[in-house]
Structure formats: structure tokens, C-alpha cells
């Protein structure tokens, strides 16, 4: 049975790969050309960097839901737990701790830069949040930050703040006309507001994914 399944999967996989390769090689040009459209509308998007414009304006709806996905993953992790006490941090190299202490401001600064840069060049809330999270992970590894168990109220607020802001903006704009239709004048500000909130929350969430897990069943 297992052998059969294995060979079946291999055969299907190979033929699928072959078919896809053939398909890709014979593709004509696409009928719709979005980069041009993006460039055309970039001016009204409130940001200068096209990826950020797509991410937070043109396809901001995807992003909103995506944040929800992250939050949801965290939530599910929380359901698995059930309030076990965090494991005591193992004895860690003091050198590492020192390094971590010194790195912390740098990390925060990097995150802030990425956030700000996102408006006109590569960077943005996700990257910034990831950097923040990486910092948190680093701190934990250095024994400076305990693993998390059930989140307290403030932490919960921090976790959802970015999403709530995003949601509030969406709702407010919906009241004005359409979901996430930023008035051109306010677009930049609103996007920045959202990104700021997201940076914080994404950092916490991504960190949480690690910190909640690691404290789980050590």
C-alpha cells in the first residue's frame, strides 16, 4: 500500500512537473498588464513604493485578512496550551546576554527605519515587525525574556492593536463609501498609521508564535 502510494505520488508528481514545465514554456504574453496600472495609480495611493501601495492600498484587503490569519494562528496556539507554567530559562551565556542588551535599541531602531522606509522603498510593516520579532526571539534565547503563557490583557491589547486600527480605518472608510478607499489627501497618513500599528502588533504576534510555543512543553 505504502509502496503503491509512493510510486503513485512520484508518477503523478513527475507528470505534473513535466506538464507544468511544458505549460510554462509555451505561454504567450499575459492579456492584462498590471504593472502599468500600478504605476498609473501610484500617485493616488499615498505612498511611493509600488509594493507598499499594492500591499496597503490596491490590495489592502488581502493584507487586512492576512493579519487576521496571523492573529488566528496565534489564537490557535493559545488554545493548545492551557496555562502551564513557563519553563525556567536555562542558564545562558552572560556574554550573549550582554550582547542582547546592547542590540535591543538597535533592533528597535532598525524596525522603525524599515517602517518609515516602506513608504518609498523596500521595507514596511512586515519586515519591521519581523525584525522586532527576531529581537524578541533573540532576547528569549538570551534568557532576558521569559517564554509566554496565557497573554494578559495588555499583551492581548498589543497583539490586536494593529489589527484593530486597520479594522477601524476600514470601517470608517466604509462609512464614507467603500472599504479601504482612502481619500487621496489622507491616504499617506492613514497608511502610516496602519503600518505603525501593524509593526507593533506583527512584531508581538510573530514573537508570540515563538514565545508561546517554546514555553509550551519544554
Amino acid at each position: 500500500m505504502n509502496g503503491l502510494l509512493r510510486s503513485a505520488v512520484v508518477i503523478v508528481g513527475l507528470s505534473l512537473a513535466a506538464a507544468m514545465v511544458i505549460a510554462l514554456l509555451q505561454l504567450p504574453s499575459a492579456a492584462v498588464h498590471l504593472p502599468a496600472l500600478v504605476a498609473e495609480n501610484l500617485a493616488q495611493s499615498g505612498v511611493e513604493h509600488p509594493v507598499t501601495a499594492v500591499l496597503l492600498n490596491f490590495r489592502g484587503w488581502d493584507t487586512l485578512l492576512e493579519v487576521a490569519v496571523l492573529l488566528l494562528a496565534l489564537l490557535t496556539l493559545l488554545t493548545l496550551g492551557g496555562g502551564k507554567a513557563p519553563a525556567p530559562a536555562a542558564a545562558v551565556d552572560p556574554l550573549l546576554q550582554g550582547l542582547a542588551r546592547r542590540m535591543l535599541p538597535l533592533i528597535v531602531l532598525t524596525a522603525g527605519y524599515l517602517l518609515w522606509a516602506g513608504a518609498h522603498r523596500p521595507g514596511g510593516a512586515f519586515q519591521a515587525g519581523a525584525v522586532l520579532a527576531a529581537g524578541a526571539v533573540f532576547l528569549q534565547l538570551a534568557g532576558l525574556l521569559p517564554a509566554w503563557t496565557a497573554p494578559r490583557r495588555w499583551l492581548r491589547l498589543g497583539l490586536v492593536l494593529g489589527f484593530l486600527v486597520f479594522l477601524a480605518v476600514a470601517a470608517a472608510l466604509l462609512g464614507q463609501g467603500a472599504l479601504l478607499r482612502y481619500p487621496p489627501a489622507l491616504a499617506g497618513g492613514l497608511i502610516l498609521l496602519i503600518e505603525a500599528g501593524l509593526t507593533l502588533s506583527l512584531g508581538l504576534i510573530l514573537a508570540g508564535l515563538f514565545l508561546f510555543l517554546t514555553g509550551r512543553d519544554a
Binding site: 509594493v51 507598499t52 524599515l114 523596500p122 521595507g123 514596511g124 512586515f126 519586515q127 519581523a130 525584525v131 520579532a133 527576531a134 526571539v137 510573530l206 508564535l209 515563538f210 510555543l213 517554546t214 509550551r216 512543553d217 519544554a218
Partner: protein, 86 residues
């Protein structure tokens, strides 16, 4: 030159992916996966997508790697060094 680099990168990508799945040692597999993530970041850069490259490095390789390593520790803590890979 570029093409050669691209081909090499793709080869490396494929190899690291294959190793991360096929190598019998789980720890090594995870490491290979982190390597794979970093190579992916390179690939994104080659595709003119620095945003993704950044994200891939931070999230795909970094955070995922950390998660994997941590999980690996947890899973192996209990079972000793026994690999269950069949």
C-alpha cells in the same frame, strides 16, 4: 554570467530543498531548510523583489528557522535522539 549565477542558485535551491526533505538526520534537515530560506532570499533579490527578500530572510529563514529548531528540540527532548523518519 547572470544566467550562470541563476542556474547555480537554482541548483543550490533544489539541492537544499531536496536535502532538507531527504536527509535522515532531522537537525541537519532543519539546517538545510534554513539554508534553503536564505537561498530563497537571494532568489527574490535576483527577481527584483527586495521586499520579499527582506521578508524571506527575516521570516522565512529566521523566524521559521527558530521555530523549527525550537520544535526540534522539544520533539527530541522526549524521544532522546531517536529519529522517527520512516
Amino acid at each position: 554570467m547572470n544566467l550562470a549565477f541563476d542556474l547555480l542558485l537554482i541548483l543550490a535551491l533544489s539541492w537544499s530543498a531536496w536535502r532538507s526533505l531527504a536527509t535522515p538526520d532531522l537537525t541537519r534537515a532543519v539546517v538545510m531548510f534554513i539554508v534553503f530560506g536564505l537561498l530563497m532570499a537571494l532568489a527574490w533579490a535576483r527577481l527584483g523583489a527586495p521586499d520579499i527578500a527582506l521578508a524571506e530572510a527575516a521570516i522565512g529563514a529566521g523566524l521559521t528557522g527558530a521555530l523549527l529548531l525550537d520544535a526540534l528540540g522539544a520533539l527530541q527532548a522526549r524521544r532522546g535522539e531517536k529519529k522517527e523518519d520512516a
